[in-house]
């Protein structure tokens, strides 16, 4: 294939990949924005979402979209449960304690899953025919279109919720200043739960889509994508929703380009290199704001 053709092909791949990162990154950025926690367990929530989708399809025999919805709802509740049990009691604790608890939750989700569903990778049942659409020399397959479509729908939905509904306004208020929001009559605990719920649902969507696209899921599948999605959130500006969406897509594209043009073994390093560059040169990210400590 010629260079520009390769380039555009990788771009297409990158956007699919980036959409997944964006879905996961949204959860990270919303949670960090509201309680300043890096939820290390978020990648594992994504993994659980993938498995729930798997069981919905293989046992309940539903098709992709119902499976997606079921997974999003169940995983959303799981996210809320995790928050209530593990993070809420530590609201006043030093940050490192909550971070370590998040690591603990992450291990717990991974190894409990491993115990119940076995560490072996499972093959996602084929729910879509692999139709490849040819646009000239470019190949987009049906699954990539699905990922893109679902992601766009979810992002539009999320933006609508955050910008145009009362709940969304409350979410924004609590992330600005929790105490004042409470003084204004907002139940911060409920809003935090809602945030976790939405973030987890989005990650679950990502998990199901990955299962459909890559066909293979395993209990440790959340670790790397989780970390990379966090990099995407930082790139976009942690706490910023458009930032997470943009950061995810950019990261996916960069990774696809590195993989296609340089070497696939360096694809993981690309994410971390971006992270270091962002933190050194613009730690607030593309859309973030700088805060100074008052002396």
């Amino acid at each position: 294939m010629e260079f520009t053709e390769q380039l555009i092909q990788q771009l297409i791949n990158g956007i699919s990949l980036g959409s997944i990162y964006a879905l996961i990154a949204l959860g990270y950025t919303m949670v960090y924005g509201i309680i300043k926690l890096i939820n290390f367990a978020h990648g594992d929530i994504y993994m659980v979402g993938a498995y729930i989708g798997f069981f919905a399809i293989s046992i309940a025999h539903v098709s992709v979209v119902p499976a997606l919805i079921i997974s999003m709802i169940v995983t959303g509740f799981l996210g809320v449960l995790v928050e209530r049990l593990a993070y809420k009691p530590l609201r006043q604790a030093p940050r490192i304690s909550v971070l370590i608890t998040a690591i603990g939750v992450s291990f717990f989700l991974e190894y409990t899953s491993m115990y119940f569903v076995s560490p072996q990778p499972r093959t996602f049942p084929a729910v879509m025919e692999s139709t490849a659409y040819h646009l000239g020399v470019f190949v987009i397959n049906g699954q990539q279109l699905l990922i893109f479509a679902i992601t766009v729908i979810l992002m539009v939905l999320l933006t609508y919720i955050v910008q145009c509904t009362k709940v969304g306004k409350a979410m924004r208020a609590v992330s600005f200043d929790t105490e004042t929001a409470q003084l204004m009559g907002i139940d911060a605990n409920r809003i935090i739960s809602v945030t976790f719920g939405i973030g987890s649902a989005l990650a679950a969507a990502g998990g199901v889509l990955v299962g459909v696209y890559y066909n293979s899921i395993d209990p440790l599948m959340g670790i790397m994508p989780g970390l990379k999605a966090f990099v995407a959130a930082v790139l976009g500006g942690i706490g910023s929703l458009p930032g997470a969406m943009t950061g995810g897509i950019i990261l996916g594209v960069v990774e696809a380009l590195v993989s296609g043009f340089i070497s696939s073994t360096f694809r993981d390093a690309a994410a971390f290199a971006i992270l270091i560059l962002v933190l050194l040169f613009k730690p607030s990210g593309l859309f973030g704001k700088n805060t100074r400590e008052k002396v």
């Binding site: 890096i38 604790a93 370590i100 115990y115 390093a269 992270l275 933190l279």
Partner: protein, 314 residues
């Protein structure tokens, strides 16, 4: 010129006695291969947790990339003994220096960051180190580096560990150590009191990284082969948990954390699935009920209840 106070001499004497006993038990075969291996691991983990404590606990810098420094030390020392037949001690030292240099280089730009951002940056850097090693064919890439001589014995680990403990303890109890602690407590005030905070943050990082490198060297020479999967951020988390469980800012705490965690890991080795589940639950419970860890920021020999015991005896 007394390097050591009377209390230090007592501690050293007790340690050497402990060593003699344990070594005797090992040599005579009472302690079998499994526990012998675990004793060595405890020693190595103590070096790792105490060196990480210097960075995270005493200087308050949140580093999540300790395994990266360990990896540098492991690979450098392994190459030196295997390919260049250098003596073990020299290889360990050079490995440590290599890791320290990297710690310094990494520390300089990243220590402008703080809190969560520093944590993520160090995690990313640790991963970059690991991925880079994975792509270098000379050191075996992803398959690993083979042929490492089995130089690490309990004696080696014990005495290197003792040196590490004394080095860090003495550092912490000096004006330089106090400067690091001041940075942890209130960086702006520390700077206002004339402390070059950048210099000390980088210094803590460098020393911590150096000892991690030495531990890496000891680790590498336990095995015939090492590969990058031993040095992921999961490993870094492991050492972080040892430090936090023991107590940030307490050397005795780091020792205790390393012992307890290595012990739990060994004891549960027969139930691999449950091991991690129990481990993760323990972690969560610890953060709920005793977030300051076993020792907080107090040293065993300075703890009030120990002093009362000693006082009572008189």
């Amino acid at each position: 010129m007394n390097m050591l106070r009377r209390q230090d001499l007592k501690v050293i004497a007790a340690s050497i006695a402990g060593f003699a006993i344990l070594n005797g038990l090992i040599e005579s075969g009472v302690i079998g291969a499994f526990w012998q291996f675990n004793l060595i691991m405890v020693g190595i983990n103590i070096i790792l947790s105490v060196s990480l404590n210097l960075i995270n606990g005493y200087t308050g810098q949140f580093s999540l990339g300790h395994a990266g420094f360990m990896a540098i030390g492991a690979y450098v020392s392994a190459i030196l003994t295997t390919n260049f037949q250098l003596p073990f001690l020299l290889a360990l030292v050079v490995g440590g220096i290599g890791a320290a240099i990297l710690g310094c280089l990494i520390g300089l730009p990243t220590l402008r960051l703080s809190g969560d951002y520093l944590a993520i940056a160090t995690l990313g850097l640790g991963e970059i180190i690991r991925i880079t090693i994975m792509n270098i064919q000379y050191v075996g890439g992803a398959a690993g580096f083979m042929g490492i001589p089995h130089n690490t014995t309990f004696a080696w680990v014990f005495f290197v560990m003792l040196f590490t403990l004394f080095f860090i303890k003495n550092f912490v109890n000096s004006s330089h150590g106090r400067a690091c602690i001041a940075i942890r407590e209130n960086e702006i005030a520390a700077e206002a009191m004339g402390i070059n905070t950048t210099k000390y943050k980088v210094m803590a990082f460098t020393i911590g990284a150096g000892f991690a490198g030495v531990a890496g060297g000891l680790f590498a020479h336990c095995f015939y082969i090492i590969n990058p999967t031993s040095f992921t951020f999961m490993a870094s988390f492991n050492y972080l948990i040892m430090v936090v469980m023991g107590g940030l800012g307490s050397i005795t705490g780091s020792i205790a954390g390393a012992v307890v965690l290595t012990g739990i890991s060994a004891a549960l080795a027969d139930w691999p699935e449950f091991r991690m589940i129990i481990y993760s639950l323990l972690l969560i419970l610890l953060m709920f009920y005793r977030p300051q860890g076993l020792f907080g920021n107090v040293e065993l020999l300075d703890a009030k209840w120990v002093k009362r015991l000693k006082g009572g005896k008189k």
